[in-house]
């Protein structure tokens, strides 16, 4: 039996009819057509589905949908604004080539955002700790770490 739930996605309140056994990723992708978050494994191992719930990064592929009731979800689509354009993290991932095939990128960016929100000047070690749950097969992580460093720099300038 489907039941309606309400929560916030990227600042908008949404109401969706969901089956209780669904997970958040399925609802984001199939019901809300927010396909930025990806399914790479469906088992909470690759991190491609990472979104923020109340500011904390989680694997949306194993996050029970009913748990988002009343909460605030941020996906990669919510970072760019029509006025300000790309978010500094998005810019940095392009400038430092933290992107290759791009499949892990939305999740990687969301984990980076969660890190930088709480730790504006992370060390390389802290960055690697924060993105350890986001697997990337293309970059070897080097330029992703450089991207997050560059994003931190940009964001501190913007403040």
């Amino acid at each position: 039996m489907k039941r309606p739930i309400r929560f916030t996605v990227n600042g908008d309140v949404v109401e969706v009819e969901v089956h209780p056994h669904w997970n958040l990723l399925r609802v984001l992708r199939d019901e809300l057509e927010l396909t930025g978050a990806k399914q790479g494994c469906g088992e909470g191992e690759c991190g491609a589905c990472t979104v923020l719930v109340d500011g904390a990064p989680i694997n949306s592929c194993i996050y029970p949908i009913l748990e988002v009731e009343g909460r605030d979800v941020l996906t990669v689509e919510g970072l760019m604004s029509p006025e300000a354009g790309l978010h500094p993290i998005q810019e940095a991932f392009l400038e430092k080539a933290g992107v290759q095939c791009g499949f892990c990128t939305p999740g990687m960016i969301m984990s980076s955002k969660a890190l930088l929100d709480h730790n504006p000047k992370p060390s390389e070690e802290e960055i690697r700790h924060a993105i350890a749950g986001n697997m990337c097969r293309c970059t070897g992580y080097v330029q992703i770490v450089e991207s997050v460093m560059a994003a931190a720099e940009k964001m501190s300038r913007d403040d």
């Binding site: 089956h19 209780p20 056994h21 997970n23 469906g42 088992e43 909470g44 191992e45 991190g47 990472t50 719930v53 904390a56 990064p57 989680i58 694997n59 194993i62 996050y63 029970p64 009913l66 748990e67 009731e69 984990s111 969660a114 700790h129 924060a130 350890a132 749950g133 986001n134 697997m135």
Partner: protein, 288 residues
């Protein structure tokens, strides 16, 4: 995936009531980082999941005397707690490299322990901390030492209708050092090939051991204490030699298996090595 209902009680009473109402078909879920995957793979097929995430009485930490941790506290909360890092570093060691940040934001200590995997990262630390589980049901409550909590891979002493509400850890003795070592193939997103927690309390000389606790993960069908090795260490001067000997004793006590993640001989060897190394970290931490 099979369908199931998903219920979100907000109090322990409601959770217990739902549990008795739905009976065998229900499963208690906290963060869901294990159970949601098991459901997807059809390893379990409950009719209904009863979520403890919204039960605020299960989501607390209290370190006024020893440590009390509500069963629904996430690994991430523990990881970021200065109190845990300062006073119970063995637990910090374990939760800060359990899965990923994403997993730790959902997964809970109660879930990790009640799931009863031999590889549960929080089990060896909680074993060496002499933790007890507080278990409640419609009939009342009971306390069970963690040493008696695990029954086998995926099995605990929990009876139908019971929920673990919190874990209680007595205050450590003065002059105590504690640490957890996780032996893995890669540095993150991994289960331990072997997990070793050691807690050593010392005389005022910071050399002589008055209490030793050694907890092992993936060394037997359940997380276990290496009691013979502990007994050997108590009263001894802690150094390379005594810890090396304790490691060998612990390796003999254990009964590891060969799996795709590691061979029996290798695991046994690593018990010897890691008991020694983790003990040395305890010594250093106690002396700090």
């Amino acid at each position: 995936m099979r369908t199931f209902d998903y219920l979100k009680p907000t109090s322990i009473e409601d959770a217990l009531q739902l549990l008795s109402l739905y009976g065998e078909g229900a499963k208690v879920v906290a963060g869901g980082t294990d159970l949601m995957i098991q459901c997807k793979k059809r390893l379990v097929s409950p009719n209904c999941l009863i979520s403890l995430r919204n039960v605020s009485d299960l989501n607390f930490m209290d370190h006024s005397e020893g440590l009390r941790i509500g069963s629904a506290v996430t690994h991430r909360t523990l990881e970021l707690s200065a109190e845990i890092k300062g006073s119970f570093p063995v637990l910090h060691d374990a939760v800060s490299n359990l899965g990923s940040v994403q997993v730790r934001n959902s997964g809970t200590i109660g879930g990790n322990l009640c799931n009863a995997a031999p590889s549960a990262d929080t089990a060896p630390p909680m074993l060496v901390l002499d933790a007890e589980a507080k278990i409640v049901s419609a009939e009342g409550e009971r306390r069970v030492p963690l040493t008696q909590f695990f029954k086998g891979p995926g099995r605990t002493i929990l009876k139908p209708g019971e929920i673990v509400t919190e874990f209680l850890v007595p205050p450590p003795l003065p002059n105590t050092g504690m640490a957890y070592s996780k032996h893995t193939r890669r540095q993150a997103m991994d289960l331990p090939i072997l997990g070793v927690a050691v807690l050593l309390s010392f005389e005022a000389d910071l050399k002589t051991c008055v209490r030793a606790r050694i907890g092992l993960g993936v060394a037997a069908p359940t997380p276990m204490r290496a009691e013979k090795a502990e007994a050997f260490l108590e009263g001894k001067i802690i150094d390379d030699a005594s810890l090396g000997k304790a490691g060998k004793i612990a390796a003999e006590e254990a009964s590891p298996r060969t799996t795709i993640r590691g061979s029996e001989w290798y695991r046994r060897d690593m018990i010897g090595v890691l008991v020694k190394r983790t003990g040395l970290i305890c010594l250093e931490r106690a002396q700090r």
